[in-house]
Subunit: 206 residues, 4 copies
DNA sequence: TATGAATGAGATTTCATTCAT
DNA sequence: GATGAATGAAATCTCATTCAT
């Protein structure tokens, strides 16, 4: 790679990071190219030197965020730990990623879900493959649960569905938290929902 | 004196139902007034005889859907049943509402979430109060769980958080199902996630 | 004329009178057909039973007002009086017509001027012939002034221009009064501007 | 860094001058954005690079015309002259401004009056403050008349009303001239109406 | 005759993208 | 490479007029 190329890549990253913050704050839909240019401190036309279109910026922003989260999830999985501990850590990683890039980061998740789903059937034929992403994460959760079943620590449940459900609960709680941060205490959520999933609601006679 | 016999309220409902289908199929954001008119079999201008603006149609559509689901949830709550049975029924109601108006109904939920969140801070000051809606449903779940705790059937857990989590799991599973209907079997989900919540993942010594 | 026809004509007049009030209040341009129907207490469609188009209503309203004023001017002219007295009375008639139909009548004059001028070159080829109207009034003023010159009461001035100027001053003062009723006291105007004009027009004894 | 060398202020002026001509020719009300763009030789969208809205163009056009006339009136006032000469010059300035920007300039005056009056009570709360403008000009005329009274050249008349009346006559004559240029000879008007007014205002030696 | 629901032409405005400099 | 002026497609909304009842 020539130094020129490296520079270009660097500037593209800078624009992207700036774009992520704007997307989070104003919403993907309300963000104009002019906003991105202003935030990045460059001219409108310059954006097109680094990205082919408005959509491409969003896609790259999305991928950047997701790659980041996946990396951190994968790293956690690699550490040898009890399944129970691992599940708790994984959930924690997702919750903690809400502030990773911007205080309004959570809002951007909504945009990502929205765009990810709505663009599925669009003419672009799916700007974002959220389906694959979820499948990946689901399998990672499932693997941990299967470990627990193998070791006899967990019941013989449908591990795939359990994985989906834990993942679902995390997403859903984020949604509720966005709607009203006071309605859900994400801080304590991690511990409590894991207790719920691990022990269930019912009182077990011993 | 009044020769034209058109029940305006009825026609408005018809336009609304038609609009809901279009919104579900194309997405609120991608739906143009012209699409709504075409689908309803009327002229563009006629829409404005029944709705003040594009946004108003969306809001009324949302409220219509919402009122429908709330009605059914409330009806379920009123039936005297075991807490465990009640929880299952409530979850079932939400899942089954996915096909209520359109096959793509679930997609519309995403739009509702999206708009509900993104319009929060917008100039309109929140077209939709999703926060209140969730609080209402959360309390209904909580009430059932509290009943179970009272009767000794359930453990003494944080019932509010448990309610939030069940609600969250339902939403999250819907999200995953939309992303890939083959990845999550909503049909069996109801039974399985309730088993999960009720009994937990852990194996309990007896 | 059959009784039916008389009735129709009567109703048309009623609609017209009602329309004049609405035009005066809201301005011709801002008045919708629906407003006229509402004010007349009839249906929108019914308007078209009596008038071919929106423009026609305005034209007929205009003609109604103008015919009224002309009639009163002609009546004044017919009375045998000193030229000086006659001029004062004529000016007074115009000023007093401002409240004839509505408190906002004066505003309607502006609309009449505006439309009268702007429609001159339009495709309709002149909805209103204000030019002819002004010529008529001008000649009436001129005739009175010529009388005064003949009798030696007035100087030998350009009577046509003097007529135009008096007429102009009346219009112009109405304009100023509309812009700010406190800036011009129309009540005292009649006496004062006539003093102004007469002491210029009159031959002064030396 | 700034390759496009376009003086935005200059171009805005050019668009405005072009717009004034179109407004004058077609009337403010009949002028579409597309007309303005066509006349200026630019695209529809480009208009909005220089003006926020259609109304803003009109307001700026009006202010431009106004500022021009005021400047010339003020300049005239400043020259030390006999009150009689000054009055003649002032009137002349108004008459001569009719061709300043366009042959149809006079028509635009009608639009300005119309809009100025009709927008008074509108929702915009008065795009244009014609009332203040007239008050300013009135006071300038009054000042000259008062000078004449002071010096004994003029009779002790109500100078404010006299000022209003002269101003009114000028406006009214312009109106008549617009309606039919052959009906009023503006060229000779200046001399003749001043003769009329002066011989009324002046104290006559006996 | 009276009505008002239905209509669609037409106007304003936005903004992603292009391209001359 | 960087820029931002220019563009026009596209979307919303208005309202005079028509016409079935």
């Amino acid at each position: 790679m020539s130094p020129k190329k490296v520079d270009k890549e660097k500037k593209k990253q800078a624009i992207l990071m700036s774009a992520i913050r704007v997307f989070a704050e104003k919403g993907v839909h309300n963000t104009k190219i002019a906003d991105l240019a202003l935030a990045a401190g460059i001219g409108k036309g310059t954006i097109y030197e680094y990205f082919r279109s408005r959509d491409e910026i969003f896609i790259e922003a999305f991928n950047f965020i997701l790659r980041d989260m996946e990396t951190r999830l994968k790293a956690e999985i690699a550490i040898p730990e009890e399944p129970e501990t691992k599940l708790k850590s994984m959930t924690n990683i997702v919750f903690s990623s809400l502030d990773q890039f911007s205080g309004d980061m959570a809002n951007l998740f909504i945009d990502i879900w929205h765009e990810g789903i709505r663009s599925k059937s669009g003419p672009g034929g799916g700007l974002i493959d959220l389906g694959q992403l979820y499948e990946d994460i689901r399998l990672e959760y499932k693997q941990v649960i299967d470990e627990g079943i193998q070791s006899g620590e967990f019941r013989k449940i449908d591990s795939r569905m359990a994985a989906s459900t834990i993942l679902a609960a995390v997403d859903g709680l984020i949604l509720q938290w966005i709607l009203n941060p006071e309605a859900v205490d994400l801080h304590s959520a991690n511990v409590k929902i894991m207790d719920l999933f691990l022990n269930g609601i019912k009182r077990h006679e011993e």
